[in-house]
Amino acid sequence: MFINYIKIAWKVLLRHPFYTFITLFGISLTLTVLMVLTSFLDHLFGTHYPEGKRNRSLYIATVMQTDSSRTSMSTGPATFGFLTKYAKSLKTPEKVSILSNFSFSNTYVNGKRIKLNTKYTDSDFWQVTDFEFLEGKPYNDQNVKKGDHVAVITDALRDQYFEKDAGTVIGKYIEIENINYLVIGVVKGSPATRVYTYSDIYFPYTAPKSNYENKGMRGRYVAIVLAKNESDIPAIQSEFDSKIATISKTDIQDGQNFTVLIVKAEKYFDHFLNTFARDNSQKIFAYTIAALVLAMFMGLPAINLVNVNVSRILERASEIGVRKAFGAPSKALLWQFIIENIFITFIGGAFALALSFLIINMINSSGWIAYADLTINFSVFLISILVCLVFGLVSGVLPAFRMSKLKIVDALKA
């Protein structure tokens, strides 16, 4: 029975190549847009190189000082001291790393300027992240303690600064703003979209110009807290919250009129959302806008499919009439159309998969995002299959239902 329906569907598809094309075009393009978008979101928020432990990491990235009525506020990253006192001392996590947000610098080689992003980290940074070392090794506690002028650079910077094919660069010096740093490691770079681990060059936080001695609360450092496993996250958050709760009023004031301090250890996505929407009403607004846009972008092709299907199925009224006259129940006809639609959506889905694969490969190799590693992973594929089914049902059930209720006489007459 099932095979039969599919055979019929296949014949119908071949009978009207133009309509088949319209339907497939709609399905595959909608799904492609969706898949590319999902894979981009996954690239932004998912667990990927070099933050391979992001699923069990918490980010402490913003300190917000405000007054009780929230008329004035001051937000930004924290100071090194603040994070050492309240984050580094946490008992529950496996490791805590403190790192600076990236800042800019320039270096000059042979009259050419190289723009640089610099980052200061502690030695735990290399355990919390899993950077791949192409050469050399990371700096350790000893380097940090002694304030060595050492640096870890990315392969991209190595290729720009040092002559190619000159052998290893470990042990060579790189000059930045009149200070020579000894290169001790070369890592595979991180894409710029991973804002906390991305940089061209990494220094121990005791290197010059890192400002780690700054006092107060607001500085340029963030912390990544690595849990032993995912289930520990709530425990870490509550431990951190209770630590923050002990901060005295005078500390919060920080010389200004602030009375409220908001610092949270959050998962990456929550943290990201919070930087855009400060309170719940803003969050609801953001979600509504996103939902509306998504509804439009998915609803339009769906309506279109329903429309096309309605006219296609109406065209087949005589076929249905004959089947009904020979005693096929409405239910069987309904199933036939549903299966037919799911079948065509899956064909569209296969096209979409191939197309997305192509586009994603293009994005990855275009250099539009350096080190981009967009992938179609299993979850993205699963979502798209699910969407396939929804589309198939939405665009199939309505016309099929209408058709299956058609009177035999009318159907045969047409």
């Binding site: 393009l29 010059p208 972008f297 309605v310």
Partner: protein
């Protein structure tokens, strides 16, 4: 004729409702995307108001050094100005052109309160950025003797704050405690690039002992290259050990800013382009089938003496009526945007977007209906009636 068409459509409202929804949804998507494009295009067409080609931005960070910061900055400025490759140089707050930084404040004059972008600079900014003066003059060292901090405003600010009054010499107040005296009006200043709206701006003369604003804009002579830059950075690094030094070219920063605006627009454009192609193909298919099913009706009309043109017009007219119905529903939604001034965008932009969306929708439905209608009109009456 028109009433007749409406009657025809109304009689089949059930089967047409989905078509109407589809055209309505396309209109809404088009309206959204076009608003975005018209807004950006409208901004882009207005001049940026300053020169950036030869200008570098020297970003200094004093880091742990907190001793005599202002004096050190002043010395760097003098050193920069002394170089033969430099035409002029000025200190500026961190919200330099094309940077991500913004500084907003509100000032009051005669109970009118206007929010503006605040820029701190010294007397050389006008030369470095090539701003064009409308009235008055740029502040100079001589203006320091005045009791109030001298400021220059842009034309947009003047329009909002002073309406038709002459602003020169007027005193405005910020937060009820900082008093500024307006000494000049410049034309436009779109610091975030061509795609930024022409916002009110206020330039405030930097205090002599200001150690907070540590950016220096440098206008270099033509032909200056990275060698001078390396030398400059080296010299400053020697003068200011422990300071962070970063040089960027405004020309490059501008391109980055542009990308930030253009990439989302491009993505929306591509996605909505696909959606509309999708809709157009779907419409074409539906109309094709729908018209093909009305062969006998067409045959009859032709037999009664209707010309090919009249038959074509009838089918086009039907789809136009359908489109008009959908657009009326769409307008009910879209018109809220200019009325309620959503996102603080001028209503003219929304109205242009609405008109453009209407034109495009009519174009699409006409294109989609044209071929099937022509085909239908060519049906030979004898053949069509014979089939019956």
């Amino acid at each position: 004729m028109l009433r007749h068409l409406f009657k025809l459509i109304w009689n089949k409202k059930g089967s047409h409702s989905l078509l109407i929804i589809e055209i309505w949804a396309s209109f809404m998507v088009l309206f959204g995307v076009l608003s975005l494009i018209v807004y950006n295009l409208n901004n882009y067409l207005q001049p940026i108001g300053f020169e950036y080609e030869q200008v570098w931005n020297l970003d200094l960070a004093n880091n742990q050094d907190t001793v005599e910061v202002a004096a050190k900055l002043q010395r760097v400025l003098q050193q920069v100005r002394a170089s033969k490759e430099v035409e002029s140089a000025t200190r500026m707050s961190s919200n330099t052109p094309f940077s991500a930084n913004q500084m907003g404040n509100a000032v009051t004059y005669n109970k009118v309160n206007v929010g503006a972008d605040f820029y701190h600079s010294d007397s050389e900014l006008i030369k470095t950025l090539g701003l064009s003066m409308l009235t008055g003059k740029w502040y100079t060292e001589a203006d320091r003797v005045s009791k109030f901090t001298p400021v220059v405003i842009n034309n947009k600010m003047k329009e909002k704050l002073f309406l038709n009054e002459n602003p020169i010499g007027k005193v405005v107040v910020q937060d009820g405690k900082n008093y500024f005296k307006v000494v000049g009006v410049v034309d436009k200043f779109k610091a975030k690039g061509e795609f930024m709206a022409d916002n009110p701006a206020l330039f405030q003369m930097m205090a002599k002992d200001d150690g907070w604003n540590s950016n220096i804009l440098i206008k270099t002579k033509p032909g200056t290259d990275a060698n001078f830059e390396a030398e400059l950075v080296k010299n400053i690094a020697l003068m200011l050990p422990g300071w962070g030094i970063e040089v960027s070219y405004l020309k490059e920063s501008r391109e980055n800013r542009h990308k930030l605006t253009l990439v989302p627009v491009l993505i929306f454009l591509i996605v909505s382009g696909f959606l509309l192609t999708n809709v157009a193909l779907g419409l074409f298919g539906i109309l094709n089938l729908g018209i093909a099913r009305r062969r006998n009706e067409i045959g009859l009309r032709r037999a009664m003496g209707a010309t090919e043109g009249k038959v074509t017009i009838q089918f086009l007219g039907e789809i136009w009526v359908l489109a008009t119905l959908s657009l009326i529903i769409g307008l009910l939604f879209a018109i809220q945007f200019p009325i309620m001034n959503v996102f603080d965008i001028a209503s003219g932009i929304y109205i242009t977007a609405i008109l453009a969306a209407i034109v495009i929708i009519f174009l699409i439905v006409t294109l989609c209906a044209w071929y099937p209608s022509r085909q239908a009109s060519r049906i030979h009456p004898a053949l069509a009636l014979h089939e019956e």
